[in-house]
């Protein structure tokens, strides 16, 4: 009887010690995470057009034959989303684009943009049910904004200037563009650099490059 109690006592102490060690390890990991993880935002790699620059006015014909004006003085803000039918990350963002289009219809127009063979894109539109979006095919458009990696998005203000831009890998990134526009900064990275004096963590270079590498389509 006493022996059983003693054994269980010893075992319980062992368990408690293990739990305390686990608690220390967890607390340390939380600390390390806080140090490493900066808020994720759309990564801006564009060098040709910067936030605040006027977007050169372009008239482009969409897949459905409608002529659309990019830049100039659009009635609503325009979100140009550059994608490709062969890019899985782009596809994963389509639901987010649909809800953005629906929720912000009054102030925002979502445009899909890509380049390449027309037939491939028409099949893509059919398969993914993208009939609600205006779909632009223009190599020039992508070059204009310096799009090197997909999916990429550019937000154009209703006065025809670039609001924010960057590689978007997630819904969070997409929303960060709108948020950046509201805050009047070009990207979350820009916001963090400006706010650095007051504390927020800087995005470390290796993190950015990791994100790019992960992104390469």
């Amino acid at each position: 009887m006493i022996e059983t109690l003693l054994t269980s006592q010893a075992l319980l102490w062992l368990v408690v010690v293990i739990q305390a060690v686990a608690l220390i390890a967890l607390a340390r990991q939380v600390g390390v995470l806080y140090e490493r993880v900066a808020p994720a935002g759309a990564l801006a790699v564009n060098q040709t057009l910067r936030s605040g620059d006027a977007v050169p006015e372009m008239n482009l014909e969409s897949l459905t034959g409608r002529v659309l004006k990019i830049g100039g003085q659009p009635e609503r803000m325009q979100l140009l989303f550059f994608l490709s039918p062969s890019c899985p990350v782009c596809k994963s963002l389509l639901p987010a684009l649909r809800s953005l289009q629906r929720d912000q219809r009054s102030r925002l127009e979502v445009l899909l943009a890509s380049d390449g063979e027309r037939a491939v894109h028409e099949r893509f539109v059919d398969r993914e049910g993208l009939g609600d979006f205006q779909y632009l095919l223009s190599e020039q458009l992508g070059r204009q904004f310096g799009v090197a990696k997909l999916p990429y998005a550019v937000l154009i203000n209703s006065d025809g200037t670039v609001a924010s831009y960057g590689i978007v890998n997630s819904r969070e990134h997409l929303e960060s563009l709108l948020e950046a526009q509201e805050l009047g900064v070009s990207s979350i990275q820009d916001y963090m650099t400006r706010a650095q004096g007051s504390g927020p963590i800087q995005v470390k270079p290796e993190q950015s490059s990791k994100e790019v590498a992960h992104e390469a389509v």
Binding site: L23, A27, G31
Partner: protein
Amino acid sequence: MSSEMLTLASLTSAFFLALLLFAASLHKFAARDQFTQTLARYALLPASMLRPVSILMPVIELSAASLLLLPSMRLFGAVLAAALFLLYACAIGINLLRGRTEFDCGCGWGAAGGEKANTLSGWLIVRNTLLILLASLPALSGGNGSMNWLVTGNAAAAGLVFALLWVAADQLLANRPMAERRHT
């Protein structure tokens, strides 16, 4: 029974403080340059004294830890430990009064949180007061009540667990400023 409880409590506190002081002295030995800088930041000693004191302090901590573990010397160990905590509390208190608070107190051991993790605050005084009270337990009871291996074993295990939880709490406190700056 109550004397046994008192023995258990005082032994637990002795083991806990011994572990704490042991870890603290090891850390000070391992990172002596860092400790010298910490001493300099407290601005209480002339520059020529920094080097000797940076060796002396961990030696005192180590001896207090060892004395606490020896049954016949426990009383001395407890008094020495209490004196150390009082000394640290005074050093912190003087700098609080001077208004110099924005530097690392050197009181955590390498919590992942970087340099600025533990700046001086009134909480450190509270913390050291708590430690002094704990040290007074073995000092008052003389350390030797009705001792048997069951009491000793339980006290050792409890002391170890308290020391581990102390480290965990230390880390969580170091995380706090990082958690707060995310919301600014």
